[in-house]
Structures are given as structure tokens and as C-alpha cells.
Symmetry: C2
Subunit: 369 residues, 2 copies
């Protein structure tokens, strides 16, 4: 049932889909880069399967604009506040990190906060922009309420990623791009498809104890009667207050620098039950390694740290130790040969978008069989 698509042809298709729904070509290229980068690195929850539900459907629902009229509403030598005006989050975010990098190259550091934005894709895309430019990259975003604070059972915080990327002397950057919850809904969906329970400690029910029945969790997350546990788990014993603290850090950095929305304001559902604009907030930071002891020195020391970590003694039964960004790099090495795997439901979405947009020049290999 899984079909493998050619990367270049898929790239052209996705770009044309964005254009067909009103995204200008230059912006459609940015959106396509961000989307397929997730598939390339194995972050399958943020890739092609999101094109229709997260981007195209929201454009059609008029809760985000295909044309991104982003504007700088405040600026200093190292900082800026950008209003995305409900356009494409990826476009506002790309330009925000670009500006942060330009400021870092001139003054040593740069930081941009974004308001009135929409889903920006993977945080790692932007932090790696900085790493490619010889900078330390940091980014985060708020999101729909999912995580319960420690000692609470109510979903309040988004899965709020706190992402870092560093240039190294290796083939790929150090890149840590992870939610401050233990898992996300997509992981529960995967457990469900595999007929497995969800690990105890990752989801909290209304009675305060761990939920493990995957189908029940999926329903309860929709009802708001379950919430994700922060990194560190339920309660304090295994450090859950730390993950809760980092999720709060991201919520504050995403909202308070730009006077934006936060927590329960970000459900995407209005008082009448209808869909409303998200008004998400993001932040982007770039720090130029040349403003410290230089890029080459930074790369070398970072590479040495990563290699020493990988050379640590393995636990019995484990083959090797990874560093952040390494598995993603290895995934891309494999996938660039095999192509992009798409399951039946994504295949149907691709055909539906193609037909809806009248992009008849695209024929998918799974249609020929």
C-alpha cells in the first residue's frame, strides 16, 4: 500500500499546490522547503501528510492567508518584532530567522519575535538555517493547548518545542528539535495503528493517573479529558516540573516579547464552536560564533564533544550511541535513494488536492498500477 515518490517531482507538485491555493511562487518555495525537509529527516508527523489538513484546508477555511504580508513593527540593532498578519507561518519564520542571522552577522546576536502567525512547521528547519550560516540557532513556538502543568490534569501548554542547532566539523549540524512534552498525538496514533499501549507516564487522565489505552487516549485528547505529560512525566518524582518549566519558557518567549496570544487563547476554536485564526507566536535567535572564538574553533570543539559522546560505553544490547541530528541525517541518506514513502491516506489526499487544483500535469506512480 505504501508508494515511493520521487523527491524532485514531489517538490514540484507541492510547490504548485501551494501556488494553486494562492501562495506566491517565492513563498511557495519556502513552504515546500520546510514541509519536505521534515520528510527528509524522518519527522513524518510534520511532512507531506500535513499539506492538506494543516495548510491547504486552513487556507480554504479562511483562517490563514496564502499571501503573507509580514511587517516589522519594531526593530533595534539586534532585535525585531514581526507581525505575520495571519499569513503562512513558514514564510514569516523564514524571513524572521534570516533577519536574526543578518543582525548576528553585524552585531554578534540577533533575535526576532513573531506575532499573529500560523503553524510554522519544524523548528529545526530554522535553527539549521542559522547553523548553515555559522551561527548558533535557537527557536520555539507556542501551539494548541496539550500539556498539563505539573499537579494539573488540564491541557494548557502547547507541545512547545525548544530547538537548538550548532555548526560542527561533521557532515551534518548538531540539531535538537523536540517538543517539551514526552510524546505528541502523532506518536499515540502510531501506537494505536500498531495495536500497542501508550507507555505509562506520557498521558494523564482526569483522575490524575497515567492513561495507556491508545484508542481511549486519542478520543480523550479530542474531548479534552486527557492531556500530555511534560518531559519528565506526571508529578515531580522523575522531574516533570522541569519539562513543565521548559514548556512555560517557550510559551513566554513566544508570546510576551510580542504581546501575543497564549495558552487557552490558542485552541483555534471560537466561542460559537467555529474555526478561528490561531495567532501563534514564535521566536528565532541567531548567535554568531565568529563573535566568540571563531567558527572553525567552534565547529572543532563541538565535533569533539559529539564524537566523545558517541564513543561512550554502550549499554548491553545497544549497538551505538547517537547525537542529536544524527539519526535525521542517516534517515535522509537512506531516503534520498528510496524516495518518499506515502501511505494510502496521504495518496488519497494528494490526488484530491491535484484534482481540486486542476494540476493535471501531475500523475502519481501509484495511479498507474
Amino acid at each position: 500500500m505504501v508508494a515511493y515518490l520521487d523527491w524532485d517531482k514531489t517538490y514540484d507538485f507541492v510547490r504548485e499546490v501551494f501556488k494553486a491555493y494562492g501562495v506566491p511562487e517565492e513563498d511557495a518555495i519556502i513552504c515546500t522547503d520546510v514541509l519536505l525537509d521534515a520528510d527528509k529527516r524522518g519527522m513524518d508527523t510534520h511532512g507531506l501528510n500535513r499539506l492538506k489538513p494543516i495548510y491547504i484546508d486552513r487556507i480554504k477555511d479562511n483562517i490563514q492567508s496564502p499571501v503573507t504580508e509580514w511587517e516589522i513593527i519594531k526593530e533595534t540593532p539586534t532585535t525585531a518584532v514581526i507581525d505575520a498578519n495571519d499569513g503562512m507561518g513558514q514564510v514569516a519564520s523564514y524571513h524572521s530567522m534570516r533577519i536574526a542571522i543578518e543582525k548576528a552577522k553585524e552585531y554578534g546576536m540577533g533575535m526576532v519575535a513573531v506575532r499573529n502567525s500560523t503553524h510554522y512547521g519544524t523548528a529545526g528547519f530554522y535553527t539549521e538555517m542559522a547553523a548553515k550560516a555559522g551561527c548558533i540557532g535557537v527557536s520555539g513556538t507556542n501551539a494548541r493547548p496539550s500539556i498539563a502543568p505539573t499537579f494539573s490534569v488540564q491541557n494548557k501548554l502547547g507541545t512547545n518545542p525548544l530547538a537548538f542547532a550548532f555548526p560542527t566539523d561533521e557532515e551534518f549540524p548538531f540539531s535538537l528539535d523536540c517538543a517539551t512534552s514526552i510524546i505528541q498525538r502523532g506518536q499515540v496514533e502510531l501506537y494505536d495503528r500498531e495495536g500497542k499501549d501508550t507507555p505509562a507516564g506520557t498521558v494523564i487522565g482526569q483522575d490524575g493517573s497515567a492513561m495507556t489505552d491508545s484508542p481511549a487516549i486519542l478520543q480523550a485528547l479530542l474531548d479534552g479529558t486527557a492531556a500530555l505529560a511534560p518531559l519528565g512525566g506526571i508529578g515531580e518524582e522523575l522531574g516533570g516540573y522541569k519539562g513543565y518549566g521548559y514548556a512555560t519558557v517557550v510559551e513566554v518567549l513566544s508570546a510576551a516579547l510580542q504581546q501575543g496570544n497564549f495558552l487557552s487563547m490558542l485552541t483555534g476554536i471560537g466561542e460559537d464552536g467555529g474555526k478561528i485564526k490561531y495567532h501563534l507566536g514564535h521566536f528565532f535567535m541567531a548567535i554568531d560564533t565568529e563573535a566568540f572564538m571563531g567558527l572553525e574553533n567552534f565547529k572543532k570543539t563541538t565535533g569533539e564533544i559529539l564524537r566523545e559522546l558517541r564513543a561512550a560505553k554502550t549499554a548491553p544490547g545497544e549497538e551505538r550511541i547517537y547525537t542529536a541530528g544524527e539519526k535525521e541525517y542517516l534517515t535522509w541518506m537512506e531516503r534520498k535513494e528510496t524516495g518518499l514513502a506515502v501511505n494510502k491516506s496521504v495518496q488519497e489526499e494528494l490526488v484530491a488536492m491535484r484534482d481540486d487544483a486542476g494540476l493535471d500535469q501531475f500523475v502519481f506512480p501509484f495511479e498507474k498500477e
Copy 2:
């Protein structure tokens, strides 16, 4: 057996002890501020009990200098690299954050990396300096190898705190100051004293499984046959790779910006088994909220986020929800009335330092009884 000491008298005593061992008065004040701040906020593992073993003994062992000849070895508008020349980590760190704040006030952001340093106390002291100045504060430090990477059983990374503080419109700042391990050695010592097992998942043994016997863990940590698990625990299932990733972020930011030592270089033990200088690295970042939408707006939004979190639905059996820095503030409200509690072993250390330093003007209340 516990005695309660007057805060002001203890302050004078600690300052005079630092001075007696060669720390200049101005620097002794900084070191005393940092040390007692930990006791005030309830971080008892980093307070008065560390005066003798971590600071005075190391000065006497000649592995750190009481006089801190810190110097700026590189500087840009927003950044600086400081060499602490093996002086007092607190002094180099205080000035580093002061400089980061000054740069942030002028350019919007500031960041300082420190090399050849020693134990700097609690990260939160420095991040809260920034918050008091209306800035976002960020800090971290590397430390002796303690945490095993995911899939490893070897202690490699320090407990590497990643700390943030934000100004708010409340009585106290948001302040998250926590290690990127789940627990630290001091917590195991506490479980041991209480006759309790250490929770499964916090410490990994050589066989790759969790150790829970507290006395056995304390010995194994000394032998290097146990390691702390990163936040998220052993393996990947509960997100251990995230805590491992954040510990790596701190290791890189602490070392690679200043070409310093890292990981196994930081044991403090030389090839001949003798004590050697630590050569720790730290980083300090300040971001001026006035460079975004202004301090008052930042404080208000942050306060609103924290209040909404505290107002979330509590789990059954839980009385209330806290935000980071709140328990520490409540602890100080209580302790400023009761005084500083010191147990028998700390009492003995205080008397020993007093007698060794000839500070006969100080008589402790527990000596009168």
C-alpha cells in the same frame, strides 16, 4: 540537632571566612551573596553546606585561586569571552552577567562565555540578576561527568543546568534553574538518609538497567559504575534523548564558544590521581525586554501566563499548581522568619572554619547550648 542561624550574622561570618582565605572583600561579598541565596530559596544542596568542601577546601588545595584575575580576551558589541584564570567562579560569573546586561541595555542582547572557571554556584542567581534588570536571563555551565548519554552506561555529561529567568508583574521572577539530569547526587543522599529507594529510571547501572538501592548507588557513583539518567530517563521511550540533547546543548555552549574543556576533561582528577584545576566553562545571556514590546508589557503577559497555569484544574489530591520560582519564593518567605537551618555536620564545618581562620568574634548559637 538542627540549629537556626540569624541571616545577617551568617552573612557576616561567610564573608569573613572568604576574606580569611584570601578572597578580596568586594569579591567575598559576591561569593556570600551567591552562596546564601541558595539557602534562602531552598536549594540546600548548593548553600552553606558547600562553603567548606567546594570553596574553602579547593582554595586550600590550590586548585582555585581566591583572587580572581578575570580578563576579557575577546569582545564585540554584544559578546565577550572572559578568562577566569582559575579564580572564584562566582566572581567571574557575576561580572560576566553584569557585562551581558550592560550590552543588552545598549544593543538589545548580550552574551558572555567564560573559560578556566570554577564552580559558580546556582545558575539562577545570575539569570535573576538579568530579570531584576528587566532582561530575560539565560545561563548554563558544564560540570564533572555524571550523566550517561542515551544508550550508554558511562557518565559523560555534567548535570549541566539550563536556567532561564523572566521579569513578571508579581512579587518574584519566573525562575527555572534545574539540572538536565532527573536528579543529582544530593537527592540520592537524601533518599539514603530517609531509608528510601531511589526511583527507578533516575540512575543507570553497568548492566543498563535502573539502580534503586540508594546506598549502592552512592558507592557506584563514586566508583564510576553508575551514571545519572538524563531528564526523560533511561532509553528513548520516555524522551531520555531529549534530556540528553539539552545536556549536550549546555556542554557545547559552555565549552565551544571559549575553546575550553569538556566532558571527561572535567573530572578534577589528574593522571596521577591528584586534584587538578577544573577549568569549567559557563555562559550568560541577557535579552532586554525593552528591545521588544517593552518591560511592562512583557511583565504583564508573563504574569498572565503564570496565573492561568496556576488556575488550571488540579489533579485529584493535589492542592495547588506552582510555576517555576514560586516554591523558592515561598521558601524564602518562611525562612526569613525561622532563620537558616544547619544540621550537625555543617555546624562542625562552621566551627572548624572559624577556628582555622581565627575568626573568634563569631560565636554560634549551637555552641551556647
